[in-house]
Every structure is written in C-alpha cells, then in structure tokens.
C-alpha cells in the first residue's frame, strides 16, 4: 500500500510519459477530430456574422483570415492565321489590340474568313518539388528547374504559350511556385460580315475589321468590371475556379 502511493507520487519517467502519450494517442486523435468537426460550424457562424452580405456571397468565411487572393492579369493573344501568315499580339486585359490583317483575307467581304483566334489566360499554379527533373504538364510542355532558380521550358507540340515562374534563389529541399500562362485556347473561324462593325469572338471579346485590313480587338471585360466592388478578385480565377474547371494539371503529383 505504501509502495503504491509512493509510486503514484513519483513524477513519471520520460519513458513512462512516452508510453502514456502513445497509448493515449487514439484518444486525443478522436477527440481532436470530433472537436474540430463541432467547432467549424460555430467558427463559421461567428466569422460570417462579422461580414457583409456581399462578402458572404462572394467568398468563403475561412478566407477572412487569409486575406485577399493573388491577383493575376489576364493575358490575351490574338493571332491571325489567314493565308498562312500570322500577326501576333499579346495584351494584358483591359487594353485593346490593333494590327493589320492580311489584305487578301479581307478581300471579298462580307464573307471572308479572317482566321483563328487564340486566347490565353493565366489559369493555374503548380508546385515543383524536385530540381533538375523535367515536369510534364499535359498539353503544355515540360519544365525543368535548376537549383539556382533558372528554368527551361520546352513547349509541347502545338502549344505556343509561355510559362512564367517566380523562383527565389533556391535552397534545398525545394518547393517553388509556378504561374502558368495559358492553356485555354479557343480557335475558330470567324466570318466577318461587315466592315467596321464589331463581331463577337466567342469567349474572347469583339473584333472590328476595316477595309484596309486593319483590325481592333477588344478583349471582354466582364470580370474586370467587378473590380469596382472587389479589386482583389482575380478575373479569370473567378471564372475558372467556379466549379472546378480550374486547369486540371495540378492534379499531377509533382
């Protein structure tokens, strides 16, 4: 009896403490999970109660702490591929592009085909975990990152977009964020029915072609106009994160 009570009063040795903790592990885990599940709705309710109705309908309550999301620009590229030759323009959303179409293509309007339109947008981001190993991005190409932060991008056949990476001087072991440009290309023939009238380019904007072969392309501004209310909201991310149409490449385990 005496020995036992003595035993109880003695502080547990590190080994004993470890045994207790490991034996108790499942208990803590179960309580932790239940506790979190039960706490989340209450915290959500509390966080939501401090937000405006507009914010509630625009972003999740858990974004309160993390602040605004990254803003990316929309980059548009218009290539005119009529008669085998092409003109190219790249523009950040909001501006308009103007240039010259091959005059050939415009002859015979109002029914000439001006060519194909390719639109590129910044859509996703990927995480790189290993240096000097080519990372395949389906439909886009492969990227290889060097330990000094430099990178090579080898575009896949048929892909002409760019890849932009912001890599700080790397130290091992390595995680780096990439920003990818592009990968939603829209191509199609467009009938120009009237000189000087703007034609709708599906999902891209409007184009007006003039009889000297020049054109003006105005990217659509749908999502940019939201910035009146929430300047932090990235236009194309909004559009593409809606129902998981976000570019699916990050699914590849890098």
């Amino acid at each position: 009896m005496d020995a036992q009570s003595l035993n109880l009063n003695r502080p547990p040795s590190p080994t004993e403490a470890l045994i207790t903790i490991t034996r108790r592990g499942p208990i803590h885990a179960i309580l932790l999970i239940i506790g979190i599940v039960w706490l989340v709705p209450s915290v959500g309710l509390a966080a939501t109660s401090f937000r405006t109705r507009g914010d509630i309908s625009a972003s999740g309550w858990w974004t309160v702490a993390s602040g605004s999301r990254t803003v990316t620009d929309q980059i548009w590229e218009l290539r005119v591929l009529a008669s085998g030759e092409s003109g190219e323009n790249t523009v950040v959303a909001g501006d308009s592009i103007s240039g010259d179409l091959l005059t050939d293509a415009v002859e015979g309007l109002p029914a000439a085909t001006i060519g194909r339109v390719r639109i590129q947008q910044i859509i996703g981001s990927i995480t790189v975990e290993a240096f000097e190993q080519p990372i395949e991005i389906p439909g886009v190409g492969a990227v290889t990152v060097q330990a000094d932060g430099a990178y090579d991008f080898a575009p896949a056949a048929g892909y002409s977009g760019a890849l932009v990476a912001d890599i700080e001087a790397a130290t091992a072991p390595f995680t780096a964020e990439f920003q990818l440009q592009g990968f939603e290309s829209i191509q199609g023939e467009l009938e120009i029915e009237e000189i000087g009238e703007s034609e709708r380019v599906p999902r891209a904007g409007k184009i007006s072609v003039y009889d000297d072969g020049s054109y003006v392309f105005e990217p659509r501004q749908v999502s940019l106009a939201h910035s009146k209310r929430r300047s932090t909201r990235p236009p194309c991310l909004t559009r593409h994160s809606r129902f998981n149409t976000r570019w699916s490449a990050p699914a590849v385990p890098y």
């Binding site: 703007s198 999502s223 909004t238």
Partner: protein, 429 residues
Amino acid sequence: MRKFAFLLLVVFVALSLLPATLLAQDAAKVTVVTCWGGPEGIGFTAVNAVFTEATGIEVEHIDDRDCHLLPQIMASAGNPPDISGMPRPGVMAQMAREGLIIPLISGDDPVMTQEFVEANYGQALIDLGSVDGEFYGVISAVSSKSIAWRRTEVFEDIGEDAPATWDDFIEYLDILAEEGIPPLALGALDGWTLTDFFENLYLNIAGPDMYHKLFVTHEVEWTDPTVISALEHFAEAVSPTDTRLYGGSDGTLARGFIDAMDAVMNGDAGLFPLASFMRSFAQANFPGQTCPDDFGSFRFPTINEDFANSVVLGGNFWLMYNDRPEVREYIVWLAGAEAQELMATQETGPQLSANFNVSADVYAEPCDGMAAAMVANAAFVAFDGSDLAPGAIGGDAMFTGLQDLVANPDSVAEVAQFIEDVADTAYDM
C-alpha cells in the same frame, strides 16, 4: 367546439381593435388595413399625412402581416375597416360575392366614375380589379414579374440586344454558355421563383382568359396543350441542365432566390428571371451598385405575338367596405395620380404605381420607373397565378412539379399529370 374556438378568436381580435373602432365612429376618420409594416408603413403614413392636412380627415393605418385575413375577421365581428389593401385577388372575389365590399363604379352614385378610372388606369388593370363585371379594386403598389435580371457589363460585352422573342432568348442563353457564363441562375429552393417563370410563359402563350381558367377556376386542366407548351418552353430554357443552369440541377434545387440574385450580381451567372422588387434586394447586398448602370433587367421575351406586351404582376387592390363620404374621398384620392406619385416618391418604402399618369421619371430609382411603366402600359395583365390558385397548387404542387422539371426536363408530361392530380381535389375546398 370548433365554431366556439373560432368565435373566441373573433371576439379576441374584435376586442383588441375595440378602441380603434370606437374612435372611428366619432368624426371624419378613415381606417385602412394594409400589410405594410416597417419602411413601407412609414412611407404610407407620410402619404396619409398629406391627405389629412388637405382635408382634415384623419387616417388610421392598421398594419398586419395577415392583411388579407384581418378585414374578414373584423367584418365577421361587425366592424370592418373602411379600406384595405388586398394582396390576394382570390380573397377580393370571394368578399365581393359575399357582399363585404362595395363596387366602386356601379350604382346610382358611384364612388369613382368610369371616366376617372379610365383616365388613370389601363383597361387590363381595370379588368383585373373587377369581379363579375363590377369594379371593386384599384391596383396599387405593383411589381412586374415579367423581367429578367442581368449584369450590365455581361450584357454589353456580349454585345447583344435584349432578346425580344423566345428564339432570341434561347440564342442569348446559348451565347452566355458559349462565353463560359452559366446562363440561368434560378433559385429553385424558393419554388415561387419557378412559378413566376412559368406564369410568364403561360400568360404569353395562352392569354389572360386561359390564364384565369387555369389558375382560378381550373376549367383548363394542367394537361391542356397550352400548359404542355408552356412547360415545354420552360424545359427548353433549362436543358441541358449542365450547361444552362448555374450549378446544374442539384445546385439550382439547393439555391434560394437571394443567392440566385447574388450569383448574377457577382457575374457568376447570366440571368435571373424574377420580379422588379429584386432591385432593392440586390442593392441591399451590393451597396453602391446602381440600376440600370451596373445591373438591370430586360423584358421577358414574347412567344405569342397575339399576346405581346403581357405582364404578370403582383400588387395591392384598394377595397372599400363602408360607404361614407370621407371614405369615398379617401379612396378616390388614393387612386389618383397625386397620391400615387407621393407613394412612388417616398424615401422610405417607395411603392410602384400602376397609374399611367405617374411619370416613370418621378422614381428615385430609374429601374422602378421602368417596371411601373411596364405595368401601367401593359396590354395584357395577370396576377401572380400561384397566389390565385389554392395553396396546395400554387404553394406546393407547382413548386415541386417545376422542381422536378429542373431535375429532369424530359418529364413534362409527368409533371403536368402530377399537378393535375393535385388540382383535381384542391379546388373542391
């Protein structure tokens, strides 16, 4: 026993209103029952103050959420109000047939002259306020349900005109889908948003007479070809549900009307067909957004040219229960352009007027003016049909039937049969 309980209720209500009714006997005083508490009530009281100042007649305003019920209970206690604002035309018709309310332009000494009414309200609205050929109710505080909300920049970027015909409308939905914008944000959780959509289709396809026969008298069955046609138009708009509906079928069924409007305001979805009162809901959630600069609406497309310019509306009918000179003076004043304009221009709780002498320019909100003008100048009007039909139809079977159609647009025939089965017994009550 039940009658006793009901009597008890009546006595209770009557006693609670006793001081008011006792006072009303006194001098020139008018009691008016409306549904308007809150901001609308404040605005209405301010309007009444103008009347009192001009005539010396006091107006006592009783607001009650069950303003369709209260006058009936007061009347069965022997003390009806003088005037009430009636949001349900079905109850108006029933009270007219029971002789509880007084026709306004019939009799040797009409309250309102035919000329006065015709000089202020369109014939379609006069017909709407008539029961068995006699004019009982002047419509006021209207809303137009024949519109669809959209964000201006979405609309303009796509560069389309407001779709005027059904084909244009479908094409517009396709263009939105092509642009990567889910075309329709419907709030199917609130079934009445779907019934409003259907009512617009039906009124425009079949016209006001058939509309009346379908919802009010059930002379037209839900399996009628006109109904099938309207349901098919509805199904055409929502299918394929994956591309036409924001969030697909399931997302639509889980969404309420405010969330649907938010989706349009956020630019997440293209269109939300719902009534003009959504303007204030939108601005409450998105302060600083102006209508029609940032967001706005266009008129529901015309399907049948025979019934072009048709409008489904909601509103209040001013009804008269007691024939006294001051009551006549008050109701004529209420219906006139002066009072209607006052109600339209209140800072708190402005009400849309259906009087065509009230200019669309007087409204603080241009969108309100457009909606009011749409109602005032409509060639064909119908009251919100789900409020006309018995609750089991307008508040349940139509909801679930159209929700079924959102889930499965191929089930037009089944949906029609389902609503007809419910209607079969619902009108007996």
